[in-house]
Amino acid sequence: MEEKIRISWDVVDRCRQAARSITDDIMVHIHENTTTTVERTVLRLMGIEGSDEQGIPLANVMVEQINNSGLLGDGVAFWLGNAMQATDEGPQKIAEQVGRGEFALPDLPRQEPAIVRQKVAEVAERGLERIKKKRAERESLMKELPPGPQPWLYVIVATGNIYEDVKQARAAVEKGADIIAVIRSTAQSLLDYVPYGPTTEGFGGTYATQENFRIMREALDDGGREAGRYIQLVNYSSGLCMPEIAAMGAVERLDMMLNDSMYGILFRDINMKRTFIDQHFSRMINAVAGITINTGEDNYLTTTDALDEAHTVLASQFINESLGFKSGLKTQQMGLGHAFEIDPDLEDGFLFEIAQAQLIRQIFPHAPIKYMPPTKYITGDIFRAHLINGMFNLAGVMTGQGIQLLGMLTEAIHTPFVQDRALSIENARYIFNNARDLQDEIMFVPYGRIQQRADEVLLKAASMLESITEKGLMQAIEDGMFANISRPQEGGKGLDGLVKKGEEYYNPFSDMFKEELSIHE
């Protein structure tokens, strides 16, 4: 791709360097700690499924048991392995017995650590293989039925009922959608466990459960075969169960995950120390599984002004990128988020949107940039909304965005009706097709408003990042530097799930992932 706007690559380098230094600090914290959800994820990856008779997932029961005994610093894997060695049973059997209260993990006699690790590693190996098999399956399906050209059409379903979601998703695929995201029920991100089974009752979204993933995956494989292109499925590796959902997605062959290093902190008031650890482990899973993440910088523009705070989006992308690299993600897996959220009544606002989209496109040339639609200034005027969505689609195709999350004409009213989605797909298809090559046909005037705006945003991002290197990212968040939201380092939900790793901490997946992903610390 030729350079449409001139990029000051030296400033970009400054940004990347600052981001690296910022995330180095975070990585220190990450290496020293683990969390309950990370440990539950380990159990899930070891093949543990199901819930106890009160409906509490067995993974939760077991991790809680260890944690209550103050032993989680060893890693739950150790205690599971210990039980395996002591009882000579497999992980699931042990989990079920623990679930029925037949014994408690910490009560079993401590076995020889080397043997325990050896036992665990064998099972864990199979867990990893399962993920790699799913990845290979995706790769071969994608070869067989290649997805359409970018920008990909990404729509959401959110009826609350997985079976209605399936209908709506299949309808969308028939109309031309490339990517389907099943939005989660309103409060799921704050649940410290993952619900189980197929679900039909959610508010503003459908619960993320492994069974729901499976049901939708099957429907989309089927719809994709009919449509002749592979359909990507998205869910949320986000909230208090970030890594567990990553693990579920990995084995159910999801293709993308909303997954951000700071979203939960800022928008769900989840404790930052917890989140930073969770995001790292979840990203390693996504990395190994070949899942593309979608970061959430677009959300900043819903609470702040998109014109004034555009640079915070870019700064955050550099941080997400850096943390992503440190978790083994490839650039090609980074659906960095941004959004078309400038007040539509602003004179020349479209120029500034183009400037931002083009800037981000060029700075991250190999990342499948995720472009979010206008939402904040959308009102109940569905005609106006449809039109603004059209301009958003034009900006997307004019600047070569990778993933276009389609705006709905009823954005201000309700989660999409079946026709809303159809109309938005038609909107995007019309614009993308009718202006397909516009991108190659235009150049921007060298010292014009678009270039100037891009320069300004990049410079501001650099100075923001440099100021964060001084105070540290946690302090920056406390100071409200992102999304105008301030979160205290010791506040927020989920802090109680943070556990300092012991000397003997053992997590077979961490080790395997690092090797698999060539992460050198």
Binding site: F203, T415, F417, V418, A422, L423
Partner: protein, 245 residues
């Protein structure tokens, strides 16, 4: 005005009744589905029904756009609507009014309750910055505010309101899917009533789908919808606090 007695929609001439309707049906597009759409339109009271667009939207669904003449009218000369505030005062007027008629600072507690995490609307009313050129309540020298933020449990909000001895409680409800707000708001009022605290506070609810009428129905004192400005809310509070005292 007599012509308001049986007022109908207006397309391009008075009382021509012209309206536009759209919806989907779980039927494949075709003459039969079109006929179903037409019959639905007739049931709605449309005449000269014109199905101007019909298309398949996938998975056996079809979408219809219809124009027609509505045969019903409404007596627009008899419309009366409940309003929360009859006159919105300005920032300065409100502060003066508090000094003069209340003689102490007033205290307001606000929250997005239940699982609602949409704080932008409540912040627009409560925080310094305000909304649409109007200062937020926090900026008023005579008003003290506690903004509890998002996803606050009804119990916690009541506890806080008692603790700081609030004059008014502000609740924001943005998510209305499956009538989630109705459930949440009803529960709140029930809780207060169970504890015998209902009359202690001015109860105010706001959000894009909230109307004053709905608020009254749910047992609140006032409701504020789309485009509310902070001074509208402050005007309501001070005018009604005076009545209460």
């Amino acid at each position: 005005m007599n012509e308001l007695k049986e007022l109908r929609p207006y397309g391009d001439s008075f009382n021509d009744g012209k309206i536009q309707v759209s919806f989907s049906l779980p039927l494949d597009a075709g003459l039969e589905a079109q006929e179903v759409a037409r019959q639905l339109a007739y049931k709605m009271g449309l005449e000269e029904v014109n199905v101007v667009d019909m298309k398949n939207i996938g998975e056996g669904f079809s979408f219809f756009i219809i124009y027609g003449k509505l045969k019903y009218g409404v007596d627009a000369s008899q419309i009366r609507v409940a309003k929360a505030v009859s006159r919105s005062m300005s920032y300065y007027e409100i502060n003066d009014f508090i000094r003069e008629h209340i003689g102490r600072k007033i205290l307001v507690v606000g929250a997005c309750t239940g699982s609602d995490a949409h704080t932008v609307g409540l912040d627009a009313i409560m925080n310094m910055k305000g909304f649409a050129g109007e200062y937020g309540l926090e900026r008023y020298p005579e008003i003290k505010t506690v903004n509890m933020g998002s996803q606050v449990a009804n119990e916690d909000l009541i506890k806080k309101a008692m603790e700081v001895n609030a004059d008014a409680i502000l609740i924001s409800q943005v998510v209305t899917q499956k009538e989630a707000h109705i459930k949440n708001l009803t529960e709140f009022v029930d809780l207060l009533e169970a504890e015998g605290l209902r009359d202690r506070f001015l109860l105010i609810v706001g959000g894009p789908r909230i109307s004053h009428e709905l608020a009254l129905e749910l047992g609140f004192d006032a409701g504020f919808g789309q485009g509310t400005k902070p001074n509208d809310v402050a005007s309501y509070i001070v005018q009604n606090l005076v009545k209460k005292v």
